[in-house]
């Protein structure tokens, strides 16, 4: 199998991840639900994971690291903590439905700061225009899950700080490859999956919260704290973590975080970018292929999209799948991104990398695509 769909979920994980999941299932119970050894071991693992995440993302207090089911869960918590029904919200032109659907459900007025693909300055200028006094929140993806476009989130965050507007970062495609400095960004929240660039198991995610940020619950229930009260605790992480934790998942995520720390985000990014460059060069040489690539490599992460003339993207994905090459075709749950890039009608075929891909994977893909055009 040539797996090139890490923007959805990384399939290859460090060996220690599965080992930790298995070990946790046999040895750990639930944090805060007992003083016995299995419960305390689970508590130690959860705390170690919070600490590892706080260190990686430059968050002072591990209490502000909240475990979630995935990035969608984290972003829903963030959005519903800041945005009220009917509010005006600014988003980029590259958002995922994990952001735009909650806003639609809240009946928000959504202003799109749309810029052309890979055009950072134009995107920043669009935010500058759209962030007006009635705006209650700005939400921006760090990296487009369709095109790998790295948005200028540091500058957007700075704009929000200057104008006193809360900023929510969707770090779904950047966590584990790009630096995320919560203390410098000053964003209200950052949401991310555990199962992509952090190499944890599916069913894990993180919500990073600014110190003192007000939060709203999506779920209410047992937390192992203040049990005599019927209101949810007002402190993190308990407030946003009702119910039993996914401790096997958290144990695996801890190992994923340790892997990222050991290898280094910069090295993983360098590796993925080299594979993206190889893909762009290889596919661009195939007649009839359109590749969506940044002129400036520093504006693209480990994701690249392409299309074949006269062939539906889903058919390309299907045919590659039959050759044991896993890619993702369609709209990738991101119609805003396709609208911005002009691919809403066609969709794209997306190739996305992880630390475990090799140059041979790209060669196999390019050869397969070349074969389809003959």
């Amino acid at each position: 199998m040539t797996y090139l769909d890490s923007a959805a979920t990384t399939l290859q994980k460090p060996t220690a991840v599965a080992q930790a999941v298995f070990s946790a299932m046999g040895r750990m119970a639930s944090p805060g639900r007992g003083g016995h050894k299995p419960a305390m071991l689970a508590a130690e693992t959860a705390f170690a994971c919070r600490e590892a995440a706080a260190e990686l993302f430059h968050l002072e207090d591990p209490e502000n690291v909240v475990f979630t089911l995935n990035a969608t869960h984290a972003l829903n918590l963030a959005i519903k903590s800041v945005v009220k029904p009917g509010d005006t919200v600014v988003v980029s032109g590259y958002e995922h439905n994990a952001v735009t659907r909650p806003l639609a459900a809240l009946g928000c007025q959504v202003k799109v700061a749309r810029g052309p693909l890979f055009a950072s300055q134009a995107t920043l200028a669009a935010f500058d225009t759209q962030v007006t006094p009635e705006v209650s929140c700005v939400i921006c993806t760090h990296v487009s899950n369709v095109f790998g476009f790295i948005l200028p989130v540091e500058e957007i965050a700075e704009l929000c700080r200057r104008r006193g507007v809360p900023f929510i970062l969707d770090a779904s495609q950047s966590a584990g490859t790009l630096p995320i400095h919560m203390d410098e960004l000053g964003c209200a929240f950052a949401g991310m999956p555990g199962h992509k660039g952090l190499y944890g198991p599916q069913g894990t995610g993180l919500l990073l919260c600014r110190a003192g940020q007000e939060t709203a619950t999506l779920l209410e229930g047992g937390t192992g704290s203040l049990s005599a009260k019927q209101e949810m605790p007002d402190f993190l992480p308990d407030r946003l973590e009702a119910g039993t934790h996914n401790i096997p998942g958290i144990a695996g995520l801890l190992e994923g975080l340790r892997f990222v720390k050991r290898k280094g985000e910069a090295e993983i990014l360098r590796h993925e970018r080299a594979l993206v460059r190889q893909t762009v060069e290889g596919l661009s040489a195939v007649p009839g292929v359109t590749v969506y690539a940044a002129q400036a490599p520093e504006r693209q992460g480990g994701v690249v999209s392409f299309n074949l003339a006269n062939m539906d993207c889903e058919e390309v994905g299907e045919r590659l799948g039959r050759m044991d090459i896993a890619v993702r075709a369609g709209l990738h749950c991101a119609p805003y991104a396709h609208q911005s890039a002009g691919t809403l009608e066609t969709g794209t075929v997306r190739v996305s990398f992880s630390a475990f891909n090799r140059s041979a994977d790209v060669k196999r893909l390019v050869d397969a695509v070349r074969g389809m055009t003959r």
């Binding site: 805060g32 508590a43 130690e44 937390t223 704290s225 203040l226 049990s227 009260k229 992480p237 308990d238």
Partner: protein, 84 residues
């Protein structure tokens, strides 16, 4: 043996408290708070020895960690709140 219980608002807070004390060389252990001292339901406490309370409070103040309440366990097994 007489010891003190530093009651924490959450398990994670207790873990931060234990870590701060451990880094300062003060032996501390997390335990579930005895029901009699916990009027709001379940919570966790950090247990320190009698001689370590004063330095522990200094360490915690430096780390910005505020104990919710502090109790002393007397030799007869009863708990009495320590007013800070």
């Amino acid at each position: 043996m007489v010891y003190y219980l530093i009651v924490c608002r959450s398990l994670t807070y207790a873990q931060r408290t234990e870590l701060a004390l451990d880094r300062a060389g003060i032996t501390a252990h997390i335990m579930r708070s005895p029901k009699v001292i916990d009027s709001e339901g379940c919570s966790h406490s950090v247990k320190v020895s009698e001689r370590n309370l004063a330095p522990a409070l200094v360490v915690l103040a430096r780390a910005g960690l505020s104990p919710k309440r502090v109790f002393i366990m007397a030799s007869d097994g009863s708990y009495k709140e320590v007013l800070l």
